[in-house]
Amino acid sequence: MEICKRFVLYFPSTLIEKPIIYQLIKEYNLIFNILKASINPHQEGLMVLELSGEKDDFEAGVEYLKGLGVKFQPLSQDIIWDESKCIHCGACTTLCPTGALYIERPSMEVHFDGARCVVCEACVKACPVRAMVVKFTA
């Protein structure tokens, strides 16, 4: 059985120079798609990754990452839509590259589908009421 999941990975500075992703391919037969990657001034890394592979390989790969001290969480939890703040103006919807933020018709209400979010953060500052929040806690 094949598994495909998206994760946000946080690398401590000690791991930045290790070829971790290479190992995931070579040792665990996993296919990856990097959706976003950055290294902050403290040399800590953040990577948004879609991983897929056979169930056993997938679980072994995840264990390998955990063993290294990589912190990770499912992707959909990373951008939070504060519905109580949202005024449904829609300013975010044409900026969202994956359609995770969209307008439902005919109600014209804004909705957020976390499963489609790739954490590009285009919505975060473009939202005039700051209803889109990045959650960094793993």
Binding site: C89, T94, E109, P128, V129
Partner: protein, 398 residues
């Protein structure tokens, strides 16, 4: 003869709890089913509404006097400068003033996290606001400095006074250039990447009374959750703009100046806004009841999105130069569908003006009228209309 009603007759029905009230969205189907005459016979009032960013907004406040007395010269509310050029402890806090120390657009595009609009929302929410003031000192007003906390309940007076709200139609913004631009119409992507519009269309007040036959000075309205009034035409009121056959302007035209007691308003309907790379503002909720005095008014309020045209303006070139050229015309039905086809392209659209919130305001106003809590204000004077000859001028730099 056709239907004729007076304000007095409608208000009498409202007092008796018998007025028939529907929203400007609901009336469309009723007219389709019963025709103009049938609908006009049945319906007394149609409620319209809009909820969007309205930069020309602000509030007059009176703090009460200090001991010893002070003639406030420079004033800040939560570090946002307020106007001190009126009487000693009066001020005006404007929606677009940015908090002191904000980096503005030095780190482009600036975030403009807090400004006058946010102060107004926090005030209405009952939060404590830091008041800071300085003065030069006079014999009658010796105090020179003040730093304290206030809340809306401490103030003698707090009323919203917005010099330009509820624009009758508006530009539809697009960007033809090769770079992203940051505007009051939101973030516009390069090469016609998106289109942003900002009108409630078929629900919008002045689009339902295109010649201002019932909306005038003294019209009672829903304002920011409370009750307010139209007190004048808004600034830049420009009734002689190009109109379609149905009388509806194809771009920005009429505007309203409105007033209302801030103490009765709600943070749900006055929301501080931060436009990336542009600045701070305030989203204002306005609802206007339109009396069905005759079939002509019924015809106006039955307008639907298909019949309302917006003019597409390039915010990348023509608009900033002050030479806005209409590069295409689109209906609000097309804009609301999420994609429009213009200039050989299919372009995704975003509203900016909140249609769900406008619908909610129109419904709240309908319920207030039905409950007998909201009588119609008969205008004491109508606004200048399409026959006024008013010309919308620019600055002659000399």
């Amino acid at each position: 003869m056709g239907v004729e009603r007076t304000y007095e007759e409608i208000n009498e029905k409202i007092r008796r709890g018998e007025a028939v009230v529907v929203t400007a969205e609901e009336i469309i189907d009723i007219v389709e089913e019963k025709g103009l005459e049938g609908a006009a016979k049945e319906v007394d009032v149609v409620t319209t509404a809009t909820f969007g960013t309205m930069c020309s907004s602000g509030a007059f406040l009176n703090f009460g006097h200090t001991k010893p007395k002070m003639k406030m010269h420079k004033i800040w509310l939560n570090d946002v400068a307020a106007y001190g050029g009126i009487a000693a402890v009066d001020t005006y806090i404007g929606a677009t003033e940015v908090r002191d120390g904000d980096p503005l657009n030095q780190n482009f595009p600036g975030e403009f996290r807090y400004g006058g609009g946010h102060v107004i929302q926090d005030l209405v929410a009952g939060k404590d606001i830091k008041l800071k003031a300085t003065a030069y000192g006079t014999d009658c007003y010796p105090r020179r400095e003040l730093e304290t906390w206030i809340s809306i309940n401490d103030l003698n007076d707090a009323f919203l006074f917005n010099p330009r709200n509820a624009y009758q139609n508006y530009n539809v913004g697009v960007n033809s250039t090769n770079k992203t631009i940051y505007t009051y119409m939101g973030v516009l992507k390069p090469r016609y990447g998106n289109i942003h519009y900002s009108s409630a269309g078929q629900l919008s007040p002045l689009l339902n009374d295109p010649y201002y036959k019932t909306i005038g000075i003294g019209t009672r309205i829903f304002l920011g959750g409370g009750t307010g009034y139209v007190v004048w035409n808004g600034t830049q009121h420009s009734p002689c703009e190009v109109r379609g056959e149905n009388g509806v302007p194809k771009g920005g035209a009429g505007t309203l100046a409105v007033i209302g007691d801030l103490k009765n308003m709600s943070p749900e309907w006055l929301v501080g806004m931060s436009y990336l790379g542009y600045g701070c503002s305030l989203a204002v909720g306005i609802g206007v009841p339109i009396p069905i005095l005759n079939e002509e008014m019924m015809k106006y309020v039955s307008v639907k999105d298909e019949e309302i045209i917006g003019s597409v303006i390039d915010y990348g070139t023509g608009y900033p130069k002050g030479e806005p050229e209409v590069i295409a015309e689109v209906s609000y039905a097309e804009l609301k569908s999420g994609r429009v086809n213009i200039l050989g392209r299919e372009i995704p659209t975003s509203p900016l003006s909140s249609y769900p919130k406008a619908r909610k305001i129109a419904t709240i106003l309908k319920e207030r009228i039905q409950a007998g809590n909201f009588e119609l204000g008969k205008p004491v004077q109508l606004l200048p209309s399409a026959d006024s000859g008013i010309e919308f001028k620019g600055v002659k730099i000399r």
